[in-house]
Amino acid sequence: MCHRTVVAVQREIEMKGVPAVLITVSPEVSAQMRPPRALYPKGFKIGNSLGRPNMRELQKKVMRDALGLLTQNTRPGSIETIEYPEYGEQYEPPHVRSLK
């Protein structure tokens, strides 16, 4: 749910003319709302948007990559996936049940 409403906020910010980038750890849920720009750090669990506690170098890398999307030619509505092996154990993100 948070990963849906946050895209609504992002879209409103974009409509004010301020570029915005989302870090989502629930990419299928966020994708339903089509975020203007988004990064999925692969395998990070909910509650770990930037990585694990006190892993500052990893957190910096994730934030740099997210902000880096601002300057790249990304496709609005799509989500970029980047892998961070230093995160350690990977988690499966929540899946959206198909309505079909």
Binding site: C2, V6, A8, E12, I13, K16, S26
Partner: protein
């Protein structure tokens, strides 16, 4: 999977990151310890948001949210609200500055219409008029 049929708003970023001021917005229920906690007793959710100043000690931040495990954020708020990370990036010259206002809200709500038509544009307005940010980083939690 259902996809929003509304077109995607997209503002090109035409600045240099190293000269840009960044604001953080999180749906992860982050607020200052002396601010009113989000109302997690209400099943409908809480549509309010909290303004977080740029110069706070991150130990003064906490999470009130009952729809995700925030044990890690309790140890290090930067996993959902990377204010110290942003400070590091500023001191390294990667970003230009830290915006005057950052936002925490609780992304869980059953009142989606009120969230989409009320809270979301109010937060955007706060960012636009109050924070003076050149760009925004959001986290879902």
């Amino acid at each position: 999977m259902t996809i929003s049929r509304k077109c995607v708003p997209f503002t090109p970023f035409e600045r240099e990151l190293s000269k840009s001021t960044i604001a953080i917005v999180t749906a992860g229920g982050v607020h200052l310890r002396d601010q009113k906690p989000f109302n997690i007793a209400d099943e409908l959710g809480d549509l309010t948001y909290r303004e977080i100043p740029p110069d706070i000690d991150s130990a003064q931040l906490m999470v009130t949210h009952h729809h995700y495990d925030h044990t890690d954020a309790d140890q290090d708020i930067n996993v959902v609200f990377p204010i110290d990370v942003l400070r590091d990036l500023q001191s390294e010259g990667i970003v230009g500055g830290i915006a005057k206002i950052h936002i925490g809200y609780m992304g869980y709500t059953m009142q989606l219409k009120a969230m989409y038509e009320g809270t979301a544009p109010e937060i955007a307005n706060e960012i636009d008029k109050g924070s003076r940010a050149d760009a925004v980083l959001l986290t879902g939690g």
